[in-house]
C-alpha cells in the first residue's frame, strides 16, 4: 500500500517537476554564476556588497578579479567594471559610490551580478560552478546600522544567460510571513528566467479578502518592486507566475527602521 501511495504521490507531482529545474546548467562548463542582487540608489538609500575572494578561500593565493555588471530595472546592462580582490581581507564594495560616478542612472533600482574570473580547480573537478550569493547590505536614511540580506538565486551566468527555470503551469509562491497593518513593505522580485513572465501579486487578509492585486509582465532579468502600505488587517502575500520559485526580497519599514530579508 505504501509503494502504491508513493507512486501516486510522485505521479501527481510529475507535471510540476519533470523538465522544470530550479536552476539550469550553463552551456559552458567553465561558466561562473551570480545572483541578481538588487541595488537601490536614492537620497534615502545606500547599497553595499561584501566581496569574497572565492578562489582565495580555496587556498589559491594569487591576485584575483571580479567583473561587476549593473542592470537597470528592466534588465538591460548599463555599466560594468573589473575590480581586483583583496584576498582574504574583507572587501566591502560601496555600490552607491560606483553608481554615483555615472552621469545619469537609468532608474533608482535594478540589479547587479558579480562574476569571479578564476574558478578553483576543486570546484570544476567536482563538476560544480562558482555561485556568487554573497551579502548585500542596505543603509536607509543614513542610519548607522546596515541591514544585511544574502543572495539566494543562481540567476545568470557570465554570458548573461538567465538560468532560472520555467514552469509548465502557473504556480504560487506563498510567502510565509505576516504582513502587519502598522508597517509598510516593498517586495522586490527579479525574473531570473530567460522568458517573459506574467506575475500576479496578491495580498490577502487572513479573513480571505483581497487587499491588493497587481498584474505585471517581467522581462528576463527585470526587477519589480511592489509597495504594500495601509493594510487594514494582517495579511499574507501570494505570488502567482510560471517561475519555479518566485522568492522575493522584502523591505519592511516600521517608521524609519528597516528590516530586509529573503522569502
Amino acid at each position: 500500500m505504501k509503494i502504491v501511495n508513493n507512486f501516486l504521490r510522485k505521479a501527481r507531482k510529475s507535471p510540476w517537476v519533470v523538465g522544470q529545474k530550479l536552476t539550469n546548467r550553463p552551456a559552458n562548463p567553465q561558466a561562473v554564476i551570480s545572483d541578481l542582487f538588487v541595488w537601490r540608489y536614492s537620497q534615502d538609500w545606500s547599497t553595499y556588497f561584501e566581496l569574497l575572494d572565492i578562489a582565495s578561500l580555496f587556498g589559491d593565493d594569487e591576485q584575483h578579479q571580479i567583473d561587476i555588471v549593473f542592470f537597470n530595472e528592466v534588465g538591460s546592462e548599463f555599466y560594468r567594471q573589473s575590480i581586483e580582490l583583496d584576498g582574504l581581507c574583507r572587501q566591502t564594495l560601496n555600490v552607491t559610490n560606483i553608481l554615483s560616478t555615472l552621469d545619469k542612472l537609468p532608474s533608482d533600482y535594478g540589479t547587479f551580478a558579480v562574476f569571479h574570473q578564476q574558478t578553483p580547480s576543486g570546484v570544476s573537478e567536482n563538476g560544480s560552478f562558482i555561485a556568487e550569493r554573497s551579502y548585500v547590505s542596505y543603509q536607509y536614511k543614513g542610519l548607522p546600522l546596515r541591514s544585511y540580506v544574502h543572495g539566494n538565486l543562481d540567476a545568470i551566468d557570465d554570458m548573461l544567460t538567465p538560468l532560472g527555470g520555467s514552469s509548465f503551469f502557473n504556480r504560487q509562491y506563498n510567502l510565509q510571513y505576516l504582513l502587519e497593518p502598522n508597517k509598510s513593505y516593498e517586495v522586490a522580485l527579479v525574473n531570473a528566467s530567460p522568458s517573459n513572465k506574467k506575475v500576479m501579486f496578491e495580498v490577502v487578509s487572513f479573513g480571505g479578502k483581497t487587499q491588493i492585486k497587481k498584474n505585471i509582465i517581467l522581462n528576463p532579468m527585470q526587477t519589480f518592486v511592489l509597495p504594500i502600505t495601509n493594510l487594514p488587517s494582517h495579511s499574507q502575500l501570494i505570488i502567482d507566475s510560471k517561475m519555479i520559485m518566485a522568492r522575493p526580497i522584502v523591505f519592511c519599514y516600521n517608521k524609519d527602521r528597516l528590516n530586509v530579508f529573503h522569502g
Partner: protein
C-alpha cells in the same frame, strides 16, 4: 520535519511566527488543523507540551515571555507544527508528522524584538548529526560608537544533552586565533565579536570542529535602537550543480588544517 526555535540575543526578546499554510500550491499537503508544540530539554530528556491548535490558513506568533515559565532557564525553546501530538518525554528528539515541501521548505519568521525595533529572517532548523562541523566566514561586523556584533550559533541534535564544544574565531588573512569560546549543543550560543582586534578589513572565520550550527550574525546599535540579523550559508552554497558536498568537504579540510590553535 523542521522545528522553529525562539531566538535569543542581547537587548532582545525572541518571537517566532508559525504559519499553517504551505509555501506553494503544488506540493501535496494536508489542509488540516495542526498542533503547536513546545519542545525543550529538561533532566536529560526532551519534553514536549501542546500550546493548542492552529487552524489551516492561520498563523500564530509566540514570544519568549509567553513560554518562559514553561521551560528551564536558558533552555532552547523549539516550536513545531504537527498533525499528531508529541510524546511528553522522549530520549530522542520527536520526529514530527507534519506537512513538508521542498521548493521552498516550510519556514517560520524568526524575529528578535527590542524595545525600539525588530529584525527577522525566514528560517527553520532540523537536527544536525553530532559528528558534523561548522565553517563560516563573516563579513557582517559593523563598526562605530555604540555598535555591538555577535555571532549566534544555533544547534539542534537528536540526543537531549548539552555537550560542550570549542568555537574558534580567527582572522582569515593572518590565520591568527582571536578567541576560543565554549558552546553547547541544543542551544543558542551568543559569542561577542567585539574587542578582539577585528577592523573593517578583517574577515573573521568562525569554526567549530565538533558541532554543526546555523551561524546568525547579529548587530545592535545603542542597545537595540537599531538591529541587523542575517545568517550565512554552509560552504556548499559557494557553488551550484555537481558534487557540492565534495566541494564543501574540500573547503572544510583546507581551513581546518590551516587554522591551528597552537
Amino acid at each position: 520535519m523542521s522545528y522553529y526555535p525562539i531566538l535569543k540575543a542581547p537587548y532582545c526578546i525572541g518571537k517566532t511566527t508559525l504559519y499553517n499554510f504551505p509555501p506553494n500550491n503544488w506540493e501535496s499537503v494536508d489542509k488540516c488543523e495542526q498542533i503547536v508544540s513546545l519542545t525543550y530539554i529538561k533532566d536529560e530528556l526532551w519534553h514536549s507540551e501542546s500550546l493548542g491548535k492552529l487552524k489551516y490558513q492561520s498563523y500564530r506568533a509566540i514570544d519568549y515571555s509567553g513560554i518562559s515559565n514553561l521551560i528551564p532557564d536558558g533552555a532552547l525553546a523549539l516550536l513545531s507544527l504537527s498533525k499528531e501530538g508529541l510524546p511528553e518525554t522522549s530520549k530522542e528528539l520527536p520526529v514530527l508528522k507534519c506537512n513538508h515541501t521542498n521548493v521552498p521548505n516550510y519556514r517560520a519568521t524568526l524575529s528578535l524584538r527590542s524595545e525600539f525595533t525588530e529584525t527577522s529572517y525566514q528560517g527553520e532548523i532540523d537536527p544536525f548529526p553530532p559528528q558534523a562541523s561548522m565553517l563560516t566566514f563573516s563579513p557582517f561586523l559593523q563598526f562605530g560608537d555604540d555598535t555591538e556584533n555577535y555571532v549566534l550559533l544555533m544547534n539542534l541534535e537528536k540526543i537531549p544533552e548539552n555537550r560542550e564544544v570549542e568555537v574558534e574565531i580567527y582572522d582569515a588573512h593572518s590565520k591568527e586565533l582571536k578567541r576560543v569560546e565554549g558552546a553547547f549543543s541544543n542551544q543558542m550560543n551568543t559569542i561577542s565579536l567585539d574587542n578582539i582586534g577585528f577592523d573593517e578589513q578583517s574577515l573573521p572565520v568562525v569554526i567549530c570542529r565538533g558541532m554543526a550550527s546555523i551561524p546568525l550574525y547579529f548587530s545592535s546599535y545603542k542597545q537595540g535602537s537599531l538591529l541587523s540579523l542575517e545568517h550565512t550559508h554552509p560552504p556548499a552554497s559557494l557553488v551550484v550543480h555537481g558534487n557540492r558536498f565534495g566541494v564543501q568537504r574540500q573547503l572544510k579540510e583546507y581551513w581546518f588544517s590551516q587554522l591551528k590553535k597552537r
